[in-house]
């Protein structure tokens, strides 16, 4: 096992983010940032609701879902009833709490995190089909985006030995 990973180290990760919740977006960002910090090339492809993470208007307003999430608990560990999650303001409150916890661990807001990743050579792309679907234009996207791709364009970037595609 050790021998194999030494002989064929990971060289590139292509990460697809299709959802726009805090946990999905941050999983993508942490994986990508961790890659570039290890000298591994990273290409990020945002599609469907994941586009929120690279849309200027939405990128720093992402939330976590408080309904239908069985892993969700109150501070202290008591169950978090879905009914409570439906109340106005609860989702925003929970999301703000999660963000403040992350900030304590030095995990930055989405725009700053993307800047950290691109500073390390990571590249950020938007999905053309999803852009058309959500009536988004390039000017709506975060300025650090490298471009809008079809799925074929994206696959063309995913070649090469030691490359993995990750769907968060």
């Amino acid at each position: 096992m050790t021998i194999e990973t030494k002989e064929r180290p990971l060289k590139k990760v292509c990460i697809i983010c299709a959802k726009g919740t805090i946990e999905d977006v941050y999983a993508t960002l942490v994986l990508a940032n961790g890659a570039v910090m290890e000298g591994i090339e990273a290409k990020l492809f945002f599609t469907f609701f994941g586009l929120d993470a690279i849309t200027k208007k939405q990128m720093n307003k992402i939330h976590t879902g408080t309904v239908g999430n069985p892993a969700m608990r109150m501070p202290g560990g008591l169950p978090f009833p879905s009914v409570l999650g439906m109340l106005p303001g609860v989702e925003a409150g929970v999301s703000a709490m999660m963000k403040s916890q992350m900030d304590k661990l030095d995990i930055p807001p989405v725009d700053e995190f993307l800047e950290m990743i691109t500073a390390g050579g990571g590249e950020v792309y938007a999905c053309k089909l999803a852009m058309d679907m959500f009536k988004l234009e390039e000017k709506d996207l975060w300025d650090g985006c490298s471009g809008v791709l079809t799925v074929g364009d994206f696959y063309a970037m995913c070649g090469g030995e030691g490359t993995q595609i990750i769907f968060t």
Partner: protein
């Protein structure tokens, strides 16, 4: 833990070659570890190394974000100084343990 002689000094290192005791660090050790990695150290590198050592001594959990906000170098600059390992290489050369942070 293992013994290793770096720049003529016997030091304790981890299995990955990080100094176990930051107090054993010298500039010569830094130059030799950097040479093994393939980095030529400049004054700017040493400014970063001193910052890391100071923060480590203060008990700070190091991240590239903290280095980026240090006023010494931005994150892009940190990648330029320590290509392929902005935090792991800089920590190794600075003679501090490998940071356990994911950011």
């Amino acid at each position: 833990m293992a013994q290793k002689t770096i720049a003529g000094i016997a030091v304790e290192v981890s299995s990955e070659g990080y100094l176990e005791n930051p107090a054993q660090w010298t500039k010569e050790i830094a130059l030799e570890i950097a040479g093994e990695i393939g980095i030529d150290l400049t004054d700017k590198h040493f400014e970063v190394l001193e910052f890391l050592r100071k923060e480590h001594a203060a008990g700070t959990q190091l991240t590239i974000r903290k280095v980026g906000k240090s006023g010494i170098v931005d994150i892009k600059g940190l990648y330029t100084l320590f290509p392929g390992g902005p935090l792991k290489y800089s920590a190794k050369i600075a003679g501090i343990p490998k940071p356990v942070s994911c950011v």
